[in-house]
Symmetry: C2
Subunit: 614 residues, 2 copies
């Protein structure tokens, strides 16, 4: 499948956009007219640069407000069009996007649209230019693809076809199924955009909140399937207006964009294979998406491992040894393996820097990650050390694959590797990992983890805090064995003076008896994050709790939640550097994260920072 | 009028919020329950702190999902309510907000609502607590104030009244006029919120985008008028859920909030005086809002005045002298006076630091600014120097008032003050000033300038740039003699590496012959911002321009716009430090700012930065 992207998706100058698209691996680009207009490059230079970079110039866009006008306006419009056709000739381009009229049209008559578009087609033919007619969702008279297709049929000219844009169709809630009935050769261009499910006016939604496929809520696999059914064999392009992408690093956004098309092709190919259908679109498949089986380990980078080591020991973790070659220590408690890494850690005061997941085939997971343009983590593996393939996520977290848990633990050798005796209330494994995201890379991270790790994104939530609303998004495997929570840091934090403004990340470990564990930790000298008395009074008002349990919760600073599936008890350690540990006990089938308690935690950490930062 | 504010509007801990509200000058606060829940302060401490700060605790809120439920749920709800009543007793509070049911109600029957609320009222009476019943715009069964008022009437209990919230009424497009018919003593509480005109689902709109009065599009003067007509004499409170306020400096937001109520009272009082109506609300008036008559001067702060002085000289400005006591220089050209100030300028490379406006009475303008809590600029005035009263805007721009243009210019003394000879294409005055705004203080700035300077906000626009969308808002006097443009800087700029990321501010000066002016400036060695050739080709396609004019525009790097009222020609100087100068010529009655050209300028500046920053 040939891939393309509209230059309006990206930040920077036209030149920078072109370099970024070529480097990411796009086959071509759409020239968004304004990007050319503001460019110091002449059309001839743009043509030459595209040729050198190996980018095709697929679509010149948009040409607006042409049809449905009086004769005087029509003449002016034809004059305007001819200037653009001449410009396209200099660019070496042959396809222009004609959007259905919005502003100046005042004649609502299909016959007039057909006659005027025919005049445009005849003029275009002189310049060997083809026209792709698109129904904008907010078009004044033409706003559905069925209507634009009807007009294209009536225009009945070889150089006039339809442009299909997923946003303009799905944002209105229109059924895309009839796309399959349009002859593929009359579909001149296809633009894809995803979007989060919002209910706002379609124009604002379109202009600010579109997203790359896989970052929103549209069923684009199905949509692309209908295009394949039509026999369409052309270019699939991205046209995404997004306030964040427009101010983010152009190279990263271009990679994110192409990743979304690779992922979408593969998802669509799988769907069609299941339906026993072929397609002229030549959809590229990725190496199989395996379900991750569980966390292998979590890694903490820190210049001084002692404070984290103390925390882990208080929680019952055992020191398993020092790596035979590197300044790396291993602690574990049953299936929870935590690695403290002091390589390249100058000035780093404890952060969650990576994690490993167990997968059926590490080679296959690696091949998939590479095809999804994930950047490889460069690590040396000497003297038979385990070669764990690793990749950098957009938030700089390092993700490793292995087929066997702790396959690498012999590198920490020695007697300490014997299994520990069973203890009531031991940590038994890692429940989830909570990673802070800069707002610029949130959507990129969601797509990275869902595509590379094959996770599913649950609906997002928002948590109030003294520093603003924290947006939170959980990604999990179907069986919940691997759970990630991505949190967006409120950007205004930096303006709150005298505050440590990084949002801390955390590792949540699980136990089957949190009360026993908490008591032992207290005896070992651990101080928990202090939970206010007001919280327990409210708990008593909300739930009919056993008074002894309530007293125990308050005594131990434990938090509590309950739903129809079960109960959830958890507590937080004090912060060390930029991270902390959460301990959770899930009773029965509770599957959440204690969301009602998150504001309590955030406020307590905020208070704590205030008093400790002076 | 007694003023109050809900703690949920502000960032920080409950304690910080209380200090900020007291310092700003609020009479009381609403306790948003979650803020208490997450607080380490006991209810008794909150009560004592409020007493010490002189804040009344006006409303405990919200109590949700009470009525319209089955008997078992009702018992649980009454138990939950009693716990809150006991808590309120400890806080010394007597008024609770009851929101109409959203989630758990499953009986749609007014008689059931009435019976159940009566039960709540009887329980509340034991604790001497009053209930204010509010219809949420998204209430499941009760979602209009007419409906909640009907229920309150049927409940018919002394301790049950209605809560009126402007957002829940105006966001639905409901007519607030019938509020005037409700007996004032049965309105137990009033919450005001403004909101920008957006069309999105009401819940998202409410939770993220509310704004303080004067920052949105609701007609709140009229709304408050209906309340006054009802005989209401109680508290007017602010309940604003806004993503930005929640992560901004708490003290500044509290001042901004109170300013909005002071402004709204005064606007409402003026409206009612015009209608010949009194009110029990005791609305406070501000000293008269005068129309600013024009710009007196603009001030540029810079460590090294030479580069700016060179720019001004090239544009035909004359050096008028050095201030007799301070490192301040005056340049002028007819009514355009520009002051270069090197006081407190270490490291400052040219920024627009302030401006003066001429007003009928500087004393009255000063009194108004002070009552609107504008912070005074501390300036010394020795030996009969003109005492220009000045105030700091939220964006740190200093705003000065004077009754006479250049009343202070004798301080720059000497022969240079003679009027210059008339020159064809001289700069004749200041057209507008363009100020960059951090996104955290944009709404605050809009309210500050509209209320303190009595300007009107025009509809906002968005301008695409290589660094993201720039949001722009013009504020003007009715006669356009004073025009400000506020621009929000895209926050992601900092992430674009190797870029100078401040958004430059500018002063636009006007002339009656821009072509003559530009030619002289070029002869004087000025380099303009270079406008790409592609722009002029597009101009030719869009407008039927005289070829000689087009050639002249391109030769001189002039930009052009036209609308039904007239024409606009303008150019930009190169940037000096963090500012530049724009020169504009308005032909006939053109009243805009050349908005279609703004992207050209931003892209050209972006290119320029790239090549000059290496």
């Amino acid at each position: 499948m040939r891939t393309s992207i509209a230059t309006v998706c990206l930040s920077g100058s036209l030149e920078e956009k072109m370099y970024a698209c070529a480097k990411a691996g796009f086959d071509g680009i759409e020239i968004f007219e304004q990007d050319l207009l503001v460019s110091q490059m002449s059309p001839e230079e743009v043509k030459a640069l595209a040729a050198r970079l190996g980018l095709s110039l697929d679509l010149f866009q948009p040409f607006r407000d042409f049809e449905g006008v009086d004769e005087a306006t029509l003449s002016a419009n034809l004059r305007r069009a001819e200037a653009k056709f001449k410009l396209m000739a200099r660019l070496g381009m042959d396809l222009i996007l004609l959007c259905s009229s919005v502003a100046t049209a005042n004649i609502n008559d299909d016959e007039v649209f057909v006659r005027q578009i025919r005049q445009l087609a005849e003029l275009a033919a002189k310049y060997r230019i083809r026209i792709a007619y698109e129904a904008l969702a907010w078009g004044k008279f033409v706003n559905t693809y069925q209507h634009s297709w009807k007009i294209v049929q009536q225009v009945d000219r070889e150089n006039v076809g339809i442009c299909i844009d997923s946003f303009h169709i799905l944002s209105r809630g229109d059924d895309p199924a009839q796309i399959a009935q349009i002859p593929g050769e009359k579909i001149f261009f296809v633009q894809l955009a995803d979007a989060p499910v919002l209910s706002m006016d379609v124009l604002s939604w379109s202009r600010h909140y579109r997203a790359f496929p896989g970052q929103g809520g549209f069923a684009l696999e199905q949509f692309l399937g209908y295009l394949a059914d039509s026999g369409y064999a052309g270019i699939i392009s991205l046209e995404i207006f997004n306030d964040v992408f427009r101010q983010s690093n152009v190279q990263r956004t271009a990679v994110d964009a192409l990743r979304s098309l690779l992922w979408l092709q593969s998802q669509t190919a799988a769907l069609r294979a299941a339906q026993g259908k072929n397609s002229a679109l030549n959809l590229r498949s990725l190496p199989g998406g395996q379900q991750a089986l569980g966390f292998d380990f979590t890694e903490i980078r820190t210049e001084d491992p002692e404070p984290v080591a103390r925390l882990l020991t208080q929680l019952g973790f055992t020191f398993r040894g020092q790596h035979r070659r590197k300044p790396v220590q291993l602690f574990s408690s049953q299936d929870a393996r935590i690695v403290l890494n002091s390589q390249r850690s100058a000035g780093v005061n404890a952060e969650v820097s990576g994690f490993g997941v167990r997968v059926p085939s590490a080679d296959q997971a690696t091949a998939r990650a590479q095809e999804l343009l994930a950047p490889r983590v460069p690590r040396l593996h000497l003297n038979n050390e385990e070669d764990l393939p690793g990749f950098s996520a957009p938030d700089d977290t390092e993700v490793f694959f292995s087929a066997v848990d702790g396959a690498w633990d012999q590198e920490f050798g020695g007697d300490n590797l014997d299994p520990e005796p069973g203890v009531e209330g031991a940590v038994t494994g890692i429940d989830h990992i909570n990673l802070a995201q800069p707002w610029q890379s949130f959507d990129e991270s969601v797509l990275f983890y869902t595509s590379v790790l094959n996770l599913k994104a649950l609906p997002g939530t928002e948590v109030p805090s003294p520093m603003g609303l924290v947006r939170s998004q959980v990604l999990t495997t179907a069986d919940s064995e691997v759970r990630l929570a991505l949190n967006i840091v409120p950007a205004g934090l930096a303006s709150l003076l005298d505050r440590q403004h990084e949002y801390p990340e955390h590792i949540a470990v699980k136990t089957e008896n949190i009360i026993a564990l908490a008591r032992r930790a207290v005896q070992a000298g651990m101080e928990f994050l202090h939970i206010p008395a007001n919280y327990y009074e409210d708990l008593a008002a909300r739930f009919d709790l056993d008074p002894q349990l309530l007293a125990e919760l308050q005594e131990l600073n434990l938090l509590y939640d309950r739903d129809e599936r079960g109960e959830f008890l958890h507590f937080y350690t004090q912060r060390v550097g930029n991270m902390f540990i959460e301990v959770v006990e899930r009773r029965n089938s509770y599957d959440g994260y204690g969301a009602p308690n998150a504001p309590i935690r955030l406020a307590a950490q905020f208070e704590r920072n205030r008093w400790s930062s002076h």
